[in-house]
Symmetry: none
Subunit: 202 residues, 2 copies
């Protein structure tokens, strides 16, 4: 019986090779690095892995084995969102970023640069890029990006979402600030839920 460990070692190798090089290994790469003596043996291993459904492989093609999950998703940076008083958030594409899909799953994601200190106690700081999953609804306690129109104040803001007495409350995570309960509740529009963030120290 062929050892499961051996197969897993091969699978792991293919994965690592792909990560490090950006393209898959050949059977000869496997032989060299895993001390396999014959290309036929490596070839065999790959086919066993394929049978087990652990990888895909296009026949006759070179370097065409693939362990699913390239590992990154591309998401657009759409603009700035204010975390203090809501001001403006233009939906203009400022470029794409690749983020690890293992961490940030979701269908329709985008980034926003945070401006302000209103979420600082949730660890969201001025200048952070938040990863937002586009959706129209939210659950109690989730951090959301929302827009509303209350006379002078309007634009997008990032806050923790609550529903209290049938009214939507936008709660800043900053003890120096008060909850926002927009007068015009009908104007509140959830742009998405914050599922992660990235920060770059300068």
């Amino acid at each position: 019986m062929i050892s499961q460990e051996k197969l897993m070692e091969v699978l792991d190798y293919i994965r690592r090779f792909n990560d490090e090089n950006g393209f898959p290994p050949t059977v000869r790469d496997m032989c060299r690095d895993l001390k396999i003596k014959s290309t036929a043996t490596a070839y065999d291993y790959v086919n066993r892995l394929k049978e087990k459904g652990l990888l895909e492989k296009a026949e006759n093609k070179k370097r065409a084995v693939v362990v699913r999950g390239n590992g990154s998703v591309r998401v657009p940076l759409l603009g700035v969102v204010n975390a203090g008083q809501p001001i403006l958030a233009v939906e203009q594409n400022e470029g794409y970023y690749s983020i690890p899909e293992a961490e940030f799953k979701g269908e329709d994601l985008f980034l926003l640069r945070v401006h302000g200190e209103s979420m600082i106690e949730a660890g969201i700081c001025d200048g952070d890029k938040i990863i937002v999953k586009r959706q129209q609804t939210a659950e109690n306690g989730e951090i959301v990006v929302a827009m509303f129109d209350d006379g002078t104040e309007n634009g997008a803001t990032v806050k923790r979402f609550f529903k209290k007495d049938g009214k939507i409350v936008l709660h800043p995570e900053n003890s120096a600030m008060d909850d926002i309960i927009p007068e015009n509740q009908a104007s509140i529009q959830i742009l998405g839920k914050v599922i992660g963030l990235m920060r770059s120290f300068r």
Copy 2:
């Protein structure tokens, strides 16, 4: 003059092909899908893109083009680092992540999962993944990952780095905690400087 658009179209195609298939296209794939008549032409495009630094390509290897224009670097997640009392940080590779290289430039980067609350006032929370640039030295005020050996306490920790009276001070960003000034100063070893972080909300 060759149109910049054409080149970008090719670059985009390679990127998409890779995303969809898990491995890079061949020059013949390009010809078929981009209606290019000659493999030599496609070959030429690839070389131009390489010259412009928009992709990498290993010579003579099959399907060995790799786009880096998408702006991501692969970095390994090496383990856990404690932000409270320094405990342990195993250097075991737990997988690779793609992070945007535009944000996180640096030669030798790795990720560590943060455990503890000692840097919370710097916006680094329990569970965050910090992006570390491997280096042995640090400047005043930088956040570093450091190891030291002070009797029972040893292991890696993340702290703000200062030098005071010729001694290295590891300062937690948590007003409830005291500075660490390791007795055995000689044992202090900087593992790297924290240049960014990623967080995923659950």
